[in-house]
């Protein structure tokens, strides 16, 4: 028995080491990719920063769709809330410290997440999807009408963030914004890795697979999902704030239906229910879009569509999901 207990402890410790190693590798890969991007595309840092902001939106969507099974096509509302929150704080209230702007964006996103969670979670399946679409349209229209605050269809301009910690000015080449974005993405990634592996994350995965069983365990399905929606909103809000800080303008497109739908497409492309899937989906989609639209400005949307059909047909779990499944199959054969 003592031997058994010992081997258990060892396997737990080993498990932990393996997980930490995996996380460290994840962080390292992001850092390496970030450095490669920085040195290979010094003139495209604005695009890379935009990819990071969208990646935060897709990560956030993955939290509710991939981990909790909530269908939504209105997630850009949370991203837009963060963007407008940070933008309005800077343009109207003189809060121009980038960290403070980020904090405002995170809070605005979390609040928007809370509100849309309360609405969207009242329904299931298709009605849920319709509610989420209604939310993003309402948010879009509200931002359009409140032009005194948001600049309406002209966009919110006059956002002039200060230097980060008073040291690093946001430069014309977007270097500071890029580094700021990478650090933000890394922090979000590490925190989310913790959350999805925690008991709370396990509960969320349980809700996705069988909410009736979760209730029979005495856990509150609705309360758990609302919490996850708020967290998801905070992450999307951080993405929105990053976008506002780096481009110094917030447009209505940041809370559009198109953006919500594209975020979902990126998530499916990368693979739902995995943070890596969300990151890989965003990078591949936006990179592919950039390359193809430059190569063939007339038919690039057709080519993007063809890629999506190919992925859905041949790799239904997404790029990362299919790769992970392939590795697992190989691992089993090896055993």
């Amino acid at each position: 028995m003592a031997l058994l207990a010992n081997s258990d402890t060892i396997s737990t410790a080993g498990d932990r080491r393996a997980r930490l190693t995996r996380d460290a590798i994840g962080v390292l890969v992001i850092l390496v990719l970030a450095a490669v991007g920085y040195f290979l595309f010094p003139n495209n840092l604005a695009l890379l920063t935009r990819i990071i902001a969208i990646a935060l939106l897709v990560l956030s969507l993955d939290l509710v769709t991939g981990y909790c099974g909530v269908a939504t096509l209105g997630h850009a509302a949370l991203f837009g809330a963060g963007a407008y929150g940070a933008g309005i704080a800077a343009a109207h209230f003189g809060i121009t410290d980038p960290i403070a702007m980020l904090a405002v964006g995170i809070v605005a996103g979390a609040l928007a997440g809370l509100v849309s969670g309360v609405v969207v979670l009242r329904a299931h399946g298709l009605p849920q999807l319709v509610l989420s679409i209604a939310i993003v349209h309402l948010a879009h229209e509200a931002a359009n009408k409140a032009s005194g605050w948001t600049g309406g269809s002209d966009g919110l301009a006059g956002i002039m963030p200060d230097a980060v910690f008073g040291l690093w000015q946001f430069d014309l080449w977007g270097r500071t914004a890029y580094v700021f974005g990478i650090v933000l993405l890394l922090v979000a990634f590490v925190i989310l890795r913790q959350i999805v592996r925690s008991p709370f994350g396990m509960l969320c995965r349980g809700i996705k697979q069988d909410p009736v069983r979760v209730r029979a365990m005495g856990a509150s399905v609705h309360g758990t999902l609302i919490k996850m929606y708020a967290i998801s909103g905070a992450v999307a809000g951080a993405g929105g704030a990053l976008n506002a800080i780096s481009t110094q303008v917030v447009g209505l497109d940041s809370l559009s239906f198109t953006m919500s739908a594209e975020a979902l497409v990126m998530l499916v492309l990368g693979g739902t229910g995995s943070l890596y899937g969300a990151l890989i989906g965003t990078i591949s989609f936006l990179w592919f879009e950039d390359v193809v639209s430059a190569a063939n400005p007339f038919h690039w949307l057709t080519i993007v569509g063809a890629l999506l059909i190919a992925v859905v047909l041949f790799a239904p779990k997404g790029l990362y999901g299919s790769f992970a499944a392939y590795l697992e199959r190989r691992g089993r054969k090896g055993r």
């Binding site: 498990d15 592996r197 925690s198 509960l203 697979q209 005495g218």
Partner: protein, 254 residues
């Protein structure tokens, strides 16, 4: 012994039809009660009423002396009324270890923790391991549920219920759909349930009922028509009437 679980004059109408009509039953810790009845007798409605999935028109449900009639299902679970399902309801992508750990964490109010891992909690891991070992499925602890046999999934259902440390356990046909080769293990697991736990089993398999129950309740057309020992149930005229209907009459005439 005083009642841990008490149902008084429970009544549920669907339209003009009383599907549960004036049902009362009381259970003490350690009771082993089987609830049987022909199809359409109202067993499922009864389970839904006591677990809080539907609310009664009148009557009360008391758990450990507390009136829980108006409480929802999760509140009742937290107070010790736990059920298993007739068809297994498990998380297909999760492992038995994760299932049981989650149930233990939920019981202890720790399932909302966001910056911890159950694997780093030795007390939870040890309890989960011990429980899985007790039910003979420890070797499957790290397999995905979708990869393990149905009989073993039924055992995991029991493990999940036990991890919640219930005071009253409702077993809804615990051996349903299990191949013959595995029923013995499930019966053994049921026989090994904690002796202070009150168990109410809804079951069709009469052999299992007779081996398990020290008291049998028969429900027919929403009413309790028999409440007594397993020996007496087969001899009761109303029970035979309810189960065999006019066929019994025809035989008695012949």
């Amino acid at each position: 012994m005083s009642a841990i679980f008490d149902v008084r004059n429970l009544k549920k109408m669907f339209g003009g039809l009383a599907v549960t009509n004036d049902v009362s039953l009381s259970m003490a810790p350690g009771d082993r009660v089987a609830l049987i009845g022909p199809n359409g007798a109202g067993k499922t409605t009864f389970v839904n009423l006591v677990t809080g999935n539907i609310l009664p028109n009148s009557g009360t449900v008391t758990l450990g002396g507390e009136d829980v009639t108006r409480l929802g299902p999760t509140e009742r679970v937290r107070r010790g009324l736990v059920r298993s399902f007739q068809v297994t309801r498990l998380f297909s992508e999760m492992t038995p270890e994760e299932h049981v750990a989650l149930a233990i964490l939920q019981r202890e109010g720790r399932s909302g923790k966001m910056f911890a891992s159950h694997r780093a909690m030795p007390d939870v891991m040890n309890e989960a391991q011990a429980l899985l070992a007790k039910l003979g499925i420890a070797q499957l602890a790290h397999h995905r549920v979708s990869e393990i046999a149905y009989g073993q999934q039924r055992l995991l259902e029991l493990a999940l219920a036990l991890a919640l440390k219930p005071k009253v356990l409702l077993l809804d046909e615990p051996a349903a759909g299990v191949p013959q080769s595995d029923t013995a293990r499930i019966e053994q697991a049921i026989a090994d349930l904690p002796s202070d736990l009150a168990v109410l089993m809804i079951e069709h398999d009469m052999d299992l009922v007779f081996r398990f129950a020290r008291r049998v309740i028969v429900l027919a057309a929403g009413e309790i028509i028999f409440d007594g020992s397993p020996d007496a149930v087969t001899k009761d005229a109303r029970v035979r009437q309810a189960y065999l209907g006019s066929y019994a009459d025809a035989r008695s005439v012949a």
